[in-house]
Subunit: 341 residues, 2 copies
């Protein structure tokens, strides 16, 4: 027989997507991702290589991102997949599961749906980057793409900036219009579906690219002094949204140099020799811990290359886990038998 | 609204260690591991590199083994840890969680404790190897080590061989005696705790080494013609149980060449130049599909180097999942919200 405390630890909390949603306010995610990036920059994080599994036969892929964060006392792993025929079956194409374990003992603490969590932590990342890279009074945002991430990025920016106007462009007319009407309602500000990519990115302070594009869709000549770009879409070899000349011109900040040079927006400018690794200004965490500068002048063009780190998943899952405990929600299920030696 | 079938798939079955135990008979595991090794040999399996995470601060390590097996229609991942201070807290040092997903859609199907499962699938692997490498009428087994795996190996062998006698040696006197009395009861045959490693491995047909040793404990001069050795303990860089001269002398079979040359028993003989990779006779699956020969003479010495593959975990978890469904056991919990697009 074990003391009550030990008996309790044999239970793990399982949280559905709906429950995760109710425990992950954007403001909490922004705070958590900030802490996570700082811990990463200060070496209190271990992130082994991402596992990639191709299931060609069913047009699917699975990524496993894992690691630990001392600040949160957690080990975490996220199994995230993209199965592109799923919508034909009425299923989402992206599915993710996150597991959290105690850093001191490796006891499983929580298992939760990771789909909404991924969307929120990626949105939060963009806002955290913009907080040190965009102009302080940024009010106008131009968005390319009208999917979940195009929404999350703007919802996150709204937490930190006095947004007044959003312009959106997407190749599908209907989704662009739906974005505009949905977001107008959610944000309570002007959200306008525009006719071209160029018009979406003109006369704005912050540009968000959140598409699955594999070629440059935002051109260098459209970019004005002082703009900040959150390059969100590119997170795999071959993916691209920006004219590489923009990257040559901008102050480049990445989430992880190791990851971005392989799968981020900067892969193309590096491959073409337009920039060298030494031209990359900083990893975002280095700016947050004041080791490197953020925006230094009103005129400079800045860009953030986001590929997504396990440390963000663990940070967001930690917010969910703590709030779920506090609210007493989720299914508690037993995994281990502690009487079984 | 979705048809009933789609609503059901949003649920995942969570199975505790106790429930896994009740759904994983050794005979089923042996059959499943055989199929898994065959599928691996025939290329219907994808196994990405194992992720290894060191948590030095708390004397812990985490491995993530993952992959998919077409034969079972499953993707699987196992997060398995060893935290060596856990026993001081009344917790097991080894903890594992397995998640199974549908290969066609990546929908999560089951989440289960992986501790007992790992023990059984590893035991099953030894028996599967012995079935093609040991002499058909093998009756006597010599075991070094008295832990869980020393037990599982013999329980698995008992399924396939007419065992009459087991000898066990372990450095701890008390655990050796407990092994003998427990196993005598379980197997219903003679199980004897002996005084030396040498006496445990003398006059036997099959030798099992299942210790955490980092140096050779079984010497070449003790090994007689016709013996088969299941080298189970070595599964990490630096681990070793056999005199490398045994490996030079034996017909060498591995679970995975890629894995064994790095972390298996053969790492030492390879590093010392006693054998070359071309001296390795086969991966076990190649024998099971009749691409390579198993034992060919009564005299040859054979050895199986087991490091453990994700394909075994997926195979064992598949047995558990199917039997749990049939018996209707486990907690069904919702992860995905299929109405949330």
């Amino acid at each position: 027989m074990y003391p009550r405390k030990v008996c309790e630890v044999s239970e793990v909390v399982v949280l559905s997507q709906e429950e995760v949603r109710s425990c992950l306010p954007m403001s909490g995610a922004i705070k958590a991702v900030t802490e996570a990036y700082k811990a990463f920059a200060e070496g209190r994080v271990e992130l082994p290589p991402v596992v990639h599994l191709n299931v060609e036969k069913y047009r699917g892929e699975v990524d496993i991102k894992s690691g630990f964060v001392e600040d949160f006392g957690l080990i975490g792993a996220k199994i995230a997949s993209g199965f592109y025929d799923n919508p034909k079956l009425g299923l989402p194409s992206g599915i993710a599961v996150v597991i959290l374990m105690d850093l001191k003992t490796s006891l499983p603490l929580a298992i939760m749906d990771g789909t909404y969590l991924t969307a929120v932590r990626t949105g939060a990342a963009g806002a955290v980057a913009a907080s040190v890279l965009a102009r302080k009074e940024a009010k106008r945002v131009g968005v390319i793409g009208a999917g979940t991430q195009a929404r999350m990025q703007v919802l996150a920016l709204k937490e930190l900036f006095p947004l007044e106007q959003v312009k959106v462009y997407n190749i599908h007319e209907s989704s662009k219009k739906k974005y505009a009407s949905d977001m107008r309602e959610q944000l309570g500000i002007e959200v306008q579906a525009v006719d071209t990519t160029k018009s979406a990115v003109s006369d704005v302070d912050i540009i968000v690219t959140a598409t699955p594009s594999k070629k440059a869709i935002v051109m260098n000549e459209w970019i004005e002094k002082g703009m900040h770009i959150n390059a969100i879409g590119a997170d795999a070899p071959g993916k691209q949204e920006l004219d590489p000349m923009i990257i040559k011109r901008a102050k480049i900040v990445v989430d992880s140099l190791k990851q971005c040079r392989e799968i981020g927006e900067i892969q193309h400018a590096l491959a073409q020799g337009l920039i060298k690794e030494s031209d990359i200004h900083a990893e975002i965490g280095e700016i947050l811990i004041d080791k490197k500068s953020g925006r230094e002048t009103e005129e400079e063009i800045t860009m953030f290359d986001s590929t997504g780190l396990a440390v963000q998943d663990i940070a967001a899952a930690n917010v969910v886990y703590n709030l779920a405990k506090k609210k007493g929600i989720g299914h508690r299920v037993k995994l281990l038998d502690l009487n079984d030696k």
